[in-house]
């Protein structure tokens, strides 16, 4: 039985270089590898078609040729996608499928399409407005389209039974990851933010059954010894759409005397928050999932009047006991920039210390950021001295 560290190290290697994993998978299985894009793609459908679904990740390579097809004022993720397409880093993928409509993502996918003329890039656009009853059948229609397109591309029939089976597998995987989140929130295990990222990110790129089995081993191997000390400031990390923030940044944050107890990052809880209903028509289940995810963890890329990210965030703090929030924002991420003032207003109203850190594709000024993180922790600590009552910070200011 491998140790938890060994399992984590293996997952970290895969999360670091998902294409290598996909190449090996393809060679062993002789089946297609399909690239998908964040943040709402139903991987279950690709899995049910017998292909390996991979949420395409930001590459660690600097942007070079990509500059000739996408401007520098796009988020790092989309610039990286374009660069990967232009520098031969997308070879392993047979095709790409997307459902999200972020304007930057569509721009990048279109640029990729111009470059990768031999690889289909299929858009089944999910309407982002979630308040209208008529958009539910519209999403269902897109799922049917996706299914038909995948069948044609993979040369298979995707049966309802196959989708239902894939749904169960992905649900199981998400449940295990959520269990880890629960343990971390409860302070029963110590998983660093960087480690949590590895666990979630690897689930986006690996064969789901293999990942689930490694997760189960990981859970079994995890020692219960590692709750965290009371003197560490408990933080919630928020935001960072579509791609994972640099692990070095997460490590730096925790090295300042903090422990991350929860998050709503895309490469984090946002990704695994919601299961697909397992009863009834599976395509209806995938439709429901799209709407349920935004109710569970609201996202500002979606347009929904009945849920608010800030309300969710403040409730999450109550659950995890987090005393401060670091909002991680990918530079130039329009939906996040647009919503940020609403988050700030609510956190201020509730007296929760918070800090905004904008990330870039490469090269963060970690030492400068350290000073800002330390200042945040200082603010949290001063607040705690003034009033030790639990969750005091969640009371609105008079």
């Amino acid at each position: 039985m491998p140790t938890s560290e060994e399992i984590l190290a293996r997952l970290a290697r895969i999360a670091e270089d998902p294409n290598r994993y996909a190449e090996a998978w393809k060679k062993a299985r002789g089946r297609k590898v399909i690239g998908t894009f964040p943040m709402n793609f139903p991987l279950e459908l690709v899995h049910a078609a017998g292909a390996l679904p991979v949420v395409v990740q930001e590459s660690g390579q600097p942007i070079t040729l990509g500059r000739t097809l996408l401007f520098e004022f796009y988020c790092g993720y989309t610039r990286s996608l374009t660069d990967q397409a232009m520098t031969g880093q997308m070879e392993v993928f047979d095709a790409f499928f997307l459902v999200d409509h972020c304007v930057a993502l569509l721009g990048a996918a279109d640029a990729m399409r111009f470059e990768l003329t031999d690889k289909p890039i299929f858009l089944a656009q999910y309407m982002a407005s979630m308040d209208e009853a008529w958009n539910v059948p519209e999403i269902r229609k897109q799922i049917d389209l996706l299914r038909a397109q995948l069948e044609e591309f993979c040369g298979v029939t995707i049966t309802d039974a196959a989708i239902a089976h894939s749904i169960r597998l992905y649900n199981r995987n998400r449940q295990l990851l959520r269990h880890l989140y629960d343990l971390r929130r409860a302070g029963r295990i110590r998983i660093t933010a960087g480690q949590m990222q590895v666990l979630v990110k690897s689930s986006m790129v690996m064969d789901v059954e293999e990942h689930t089995s490694l997760l189960a081993d990981y859970l079994a191997a995890l020692e219960q010894e590692n709750g965290f000390g009371e003197d560490l400031v408990k933080l919630h990390l928020s935001g960072h759409f579509c791609h994972a923030p640099p692990i070095a940044l997460l490590d730096m944050i925790e090295s300042c005397g903090a422990v991350v107890v929860d998050d709503d990052l895309f490469a984090g809880f946002r990704y695994i928050s919601t299961d697909v209903p397992e009863t009834g028509d599976p395509a209806d289940g995938l439709t429901r999932w799209y709407f349920d995810r935004n109710t569970n963890v609201p996202c500002s890329t979606q347009a929904q009047k009945t849920v608010d990210w800030e309300t969710y965030l403040v409730k999450s703090l109550e659950k995890s006991g987090a005393e401060g929030v670091i909002i991680l924002m990918a530079k130039f991420c329009e939906p996040h920039m647009l919503y940020y003032p609403e988050l700030r207003k609510e956190l201020d109203r509730c007296g929760v210390p918070h800090l905004l850190i904008e990330t870039e594709h490469l090269g963060l000024p970690l030492e400068q950021l350290r000073t800002r993180v330390e200042a945040l922790l200082e603010r949290v600590s001063r607040g705690a001295v003034a009033s030790p009552a639990p969750a005091r910070h969640l009371q609105p200011h008079p």
Partner: protein, 451 residues
């Protein structure tokens, strides 16, 4: 969007300035009257809708309510160099300057309007002080979001809705991006186009139901048909007038069409609108007869891709003129705003309206954008294409580099300059100047080689 054309270089102005159409001044006056009237909507007891995106205003006209197009007001503030207070308010509210400047300007206006006119309980405050132009918008009764081609456009009204404490009704029209999955897809054709058209048309019927509910009375379909009749006629005249500009040297330029955006985009569909475009067309016809040209010494013909740099319109117009470069056509003028009038069935206008909303110039794939640009370049005898890389508008910037490569392959010169819709800070005059110079030199060199 009344344009305040100022000389880029006063010394050169007399000799090399663009000779703008005088008929477009009437459009400026009509637009000013429109806004002035809107500012008094509350006093007159009119219902007001704030909307963003497509020109759904004929529906509001038929509903007997007054409409405020958010982007148009942002553009107007920028064109009048009065965007400062709104943008500062937006910044105080927490917007980062890399965010769409239309959105943060207009959201700044929303904050100002709300502060001035609405209590936290959503109750209108009588007699509020509204001395800055940015704060003069009448508070809305409800919102309609109808933004095609840009996710930010849709998200923006989610925020406006929240700024007004989620107390006012908001209706959203969703649009599929015209991506083109299948080989049958093309401009105005293919299954995807048909499906999208029907889907949007269905939503417009829902929008009408929503508006009827908000006003408490049925929509006047006769007024809608009539408004669309006038819009269709105005659009035909606009296109006919544009076609006259194929003459060499050009009788009018892109800048005249920029000045004509506001009327076609959001003024009421009525006889005055038709008269305006008839006047523009007549003036161009007369210029052709009289041999009057827009530039005294036209040597280059250029296309302009991208959304407008509203606070620099006059500056840009004269900058190109100084270099004897006639900017002839552009995506924002020639592939937008009721630009396919044959789609409008005056008796049953909804489908044609839906299709125009889908034809938003930001709602096409790069391939289609390239094809449209090359079509116009051929029609207008274009030598080079100027791309305005719009710093805070990814929607307008999407596809530009692909389109530039398509243009280069077709033998056209291209250049990029960075600017922005409503934030002048992103524009650098020296960059535009040096790149324009380089492009014009390249055009000269190619001509010499060909000669």
């Amino acid at each position: 969007m009344s344009l305040l054309i100022q000389p880029a270089n006063p010394k050169l102005m007399a000799a090399n300035a663009v000779k703008r159409l005088s008929s477009t001044r009437m459009g400026g006056a009509m637009v000013k009257d429109y806004w002035d009237r809107l500012f008094t909507a509350r006093e007159r007891g009119a219902q007001v809708v704030w909307y963003n995106g497509a020109a759904v205003n004929p529906i509001f006209q038929a509903a007997g309510i007054e409409w405020c197009h958010g982007e148009a007001f942002g553009a107007r503030l920028a064109a009048m160099h009065q965007e400062g207070p709104a943008q500062r308010t937006g910044e105080d509210y927490g917007y980062i300057n890399e965010l769409c400047s239309y959105a943060r300007t207009t959201l700044g206006c929303a904050v100002l309007t709300k502060q001035a006119t609405v209590s936290d309980d959503g109750i209108s405050l009588p007699g509020a002080e509204q001395d800055v132009l940015a704060s003069r918008l009448p508070a809305p009764d409800f919102f309609v979001n109808a933004y095609a081609g840009c996710s930010t456009g849709q998200q923006w009204d989610e925020i406006t809705y929240r700024i007004f404490n989620k107390k006012l009704p908001l209706f959203k029209v969703s649009y599929p991006f015209l991506w083109g999955n299948k080989p049958d897809h093309g401009y105005l054709r293919g299954q995807e186009w048909e499906d999208a058209s029907r889907y949007v048309a269905q939503q417009l019927h829902k929008l009408i139901e929503f508006v009827e509910f908000q006003t408490g009375r049925p929509l006047d379909w006769e007024v809608l048909r009539e408004a669309m009749h006038y819009i269709k006629r105005a659009s035909q005249l606009r296109l006919e007038a544009m076609a006259l500009c194929r003459a060499k040297p050009a009788p009018a330029t892109f800048w005249d069409w920029i000045a004509s955006i506001a009327p076609i985009n959001f003024l009421p569909g009525n006889q005055a609108l038709v008269d305006y475009f008839a006047g523009v067309k007549a003036e161009i016809e007369q210029r052709v007869i009289d041999g009057v040209t827009a530039l005294p010494n036209e040597r280059y013909r250029l296309a302009f891709d991208g959304i407008m740099n509203w606070n620099k319109v006059g500056w840009l117009a004269n900058k190109f003129a100084e270099n004897d470069a006639a900017v002839m056509c552009g995506r924002y003028t020639h592939s937008a705003f009721w630009n396919e009038p044959q789609l409008i069935d005056e008796d049953d206008p909804i489908l044609g309206m839906a299709q125009h909303y889908l034809l938003c110039p930001f709602n096409h794939s790069a391939k289609i954008l390239g094809e449209l640009l090359l079509r116009d370049c051929e029609a207008y005898g274009i030598d080079g294409v100027v791309f305005h890389a719009t710093r805070t508008c990814r929607s307008a910037s999407n596809g530009q580099m692909v389109v530039a490569q398509m243009a280069q392959r077709a033998g056209l010169q291209t250049m990029f300059f960075e600017g922005d819709v409503a934030d002048a800070a992103f524009y650098k005059d020296a960059i535009l100047e040096s790149r324009l110079e380089a492009m014009l030199e390249a055009i000269d060199a190619r001509r010499m080689t060909a000669a």
